[in-house]
């Protein structure tokens, strides 16, 4: 059992390394593998050192971390809501973050303030949805889901309003942010550290999550402290999504498609699925971002467009195949 797990995770880790190599090599100036290795070894010429260490590597690590966070958060949300089609944004989190970020842009703020404002918006949305769904007596997955969908629709209206009233010169930046863009991701270390911490937390909780996926009563009958575990899931998944959205805007489909595809091939044992999601989600977004910045270079596409273009047909295919 564990041998097969190690093989799967090892394969995914190799794929992640390959994607990392590709993203370091490709760009306005293509670098050969030996040049990249020289730079990583602390040598190499100044130009390739700048390209790798200051431009490509931070962005690649940020892309990997954001993709891993989104896929992992999606997988956790799916267990929390007992719905294999839930995604990290289903509870309105990206809407709140968008309103925060666009508000900051509209006010003419930049950089860190946009990120901080996005993070604050995500947290406000999380608390709002949770508070409303909790109401009197406790929440059920169905009520949480519905509240999230309605709140997300509300945020959507506010976003549209902001786009309408904003001056034309700010629009492209706003649209890029809305579709997800890693160009302004900032330091990759906070999201990477959070991803690692979440993986370490998910491993000992994995078996409890397996049981929770079979319903709260069954889980309680098998000794799971259900309410506490659900709180932890909600908070951790929300925090991961908030950090991801803050770093790169709302990138769609990674959190939905990656857990779903892995579940089809690896099964639903969370102890394997969750670390696999972190690796595969990171790899997918890393590749998508490499495409986004090379395909029509020197122009860049928002990476969210690439993930959606890849995600929509993949997902439809999986659904279609699932029916047959």
């Amino acid at each position: 059992m564990t041998d097969a797990w190690l093989r799967s995770l090892g394969g995914l880790a190799l794929a992640a390394l390959a994607a990392l190599g590709l993203s370091l090599a490709l760009g306005s100036v293509a670098l050969a593998p030996e040049q990249i290795l020289a730079v990583l070894g602390g040598q190499g010429e100044a130009l390739s050192r700048t390209l790798v260490m200051e431009l490509r590597l931070p962005r690649a690590l940020a892309a990997f971390a954001v993709g891993g966070l989104l896929a992992l958060a999606g997988a956790l949300m799916q267990v929390l809501l007992r719905n294999p089609l839930a995604d990290p944004y289903v509870l309105g989190l990206s809407g709140g973050a968008s309103v925060g970020a666009l508000g900051a842009m509209l006010a003419g703020l930049g950089g860190m303030l946009v990120s901080g404002s996005a993070f604050a918006g995500a947290l406000v949305s999380t608390l709002l949805v949770f508070g409303l769904a909790h109401g009197r007596g406790g929440w059920t997955p169905a009520r949480l889901l519905l509240t999230g969908v309605v709140v997300a629709a509300g945020w959507g209206a506010v976003v549209t309003l902001m786009l309408v009233v904003s001056p034309a010169e700010r629009l492209p930046g706003m649209l890029y942010w809305l579709m997800g863009d890693l160009a302004y991701a900032g330091s990759p270390w906070p999201p990477l550290a959070l991803l690692l911490a979440a993986c370490l937390l998910a491993l000992p909780l994995g078996r409890s999550l397996n049981v929770l996926a079979r319903g709260p009563l069954q889980a309680a009958a098998l000794g799971v402290a259900v309410r506490r575990l659900e709180w932890a899931l909600y908070l951790v998944a929300s925090l991961m999504t908030a950090v991801a959205v803050t770093a790169a805007g709302s990138i769609g489909f990674v959190g939905l498609v990656v857990p779903h595809m892995l579940r089809l091939t690896l099964g639903n044992d969370q102890r394997l699925l969750l670390p696999a999601c972190a690796l595969a989600g990171g790899t997918l977004l890393l590749l998508a971002d490499t495409l986004a910045r090379t395909v029509i270079a020197p122009e860049q596409l928002p990476v969210g467009v690439i993930t959606a273009l890849l995600g929509v047909p993949t997902f439809l295919y999986l659904l279609y195949r699932g029916q047959g």
Binding site: M1, P204, N210, A213, R214, L217, A220, G223, V224
Partner: protein, 261 residues
């Protein structure tokens, strides 16, 4: 020291289950002791499942308390309770894919620390439980491809893997063919014979008459009565319970009830 199965005992003290909008009725004061096989009978919607969930500590009662081995169930950690008390649910959720073997293995959850993987011994218990329920050949199959009866037997195999001292079973013969109904009742009787305690909700009076040594009758108005099976199996009481006239015969020394025409 952990109490062995011989001392297994679940008590309801002055217990009134929470059914919204229903008067309290008669509070339950009963003791499910090692070796006993209790049957719970009553018409649809009378609260049999709610009672079972309350006895398992999954729902708070309106009044009174449940004690497990002499200690209040509400004060025990869920994990501790799950090692003593197993529940066969009537409803189950298979939203996510899982194999039959994985499903049986979750019965070991209360015994394993968070970092431990299931070991050889856990796997052996699960395989033995699947074999006992005649579904060993389905071990690799996905749960959502099983028939209703196979799914039911898997639910029982999961609790058998859990190996609790007290079995609470919500209509354990649901969806089962005649042979497997008898096989499951035989299994539960065997569990009781090994010093475990069994309480099951049943719809089939005749299964109850044949396999249970104690009965609890729940009436729609909240009334209840309980006692040894031979005292409880009075046609008039059962007719009042279901609002249905019955014809009675004796076969193999046990009473048999069929609806009168």
């Amino acid at each position: 020291m952990r109490p062995g199965p011989a001392s297994a005992c679940l008590e309801a003290r002055d217990l009134v289950i929470e059914v919204p909008g229903r008067p309290d009725g008669r509070a339950l004061d009963l003791r499910l002791a090692a070796g006993q096989r209790w049957g719970v009978l009553g018409p649809n919607g009378v609260g049999k499942t709610t009672l079972l969930h309350t006895l398992a500590g999954l729902r708070a009662p309106r009044r009174g308390e449940v004690r497990l081995d002499g200690r209040p169930l509400a004060s025990l950690r869920r994990r501790e309770a799950a090692r003593r008390l197993g529940l066969v649910f009537q409803e189950r959720h298979d939203d996510f894919p899982a194999t039959v073997r994985e499903t049986a293995l979750i019965g070991r959850h209360p015994y394993l620390s968070p970092w431990r993987l299931e070991g050889v011994e856990d796997l052996r218990l699960a395989e033995a439980a699947l074999a006992r329920l005649d579904i060993a050949h389905l071990a690799e199959r996905r749960v959502d491809t099983l028939s209703g009866g196979e799914r039911q037997r898997l639910a029982i195999a999961t609790v058998l893997t859990q190996a609790p001292a007290i079995w609470l079973a919500d209509e354990p013969t649901n969806h089962l063919d005649l042979h497997h109904q008898a096989a499951v009742m035989e299994l539960l009787a065997e569990q009781a014979g090994a010093g475990h305690a069994v309480l099951m909700c049943l719809h089939d009076l005749n299964l109850a008459a044949r396999w249970c040594d104690h009965l609890l009758l729940l009436y729609p108005d909240g009334e209840a009565c309980w006692g040894p099976a031979e005292v409880m199996l009075v046609p008039e009481a059962l007719e009042r319970l279901y609002g249905q006239r019955l014809a009675t015969a004796r076969i193999d020394g046990a009473p048999v009830f069929v609806p009168a025409r």
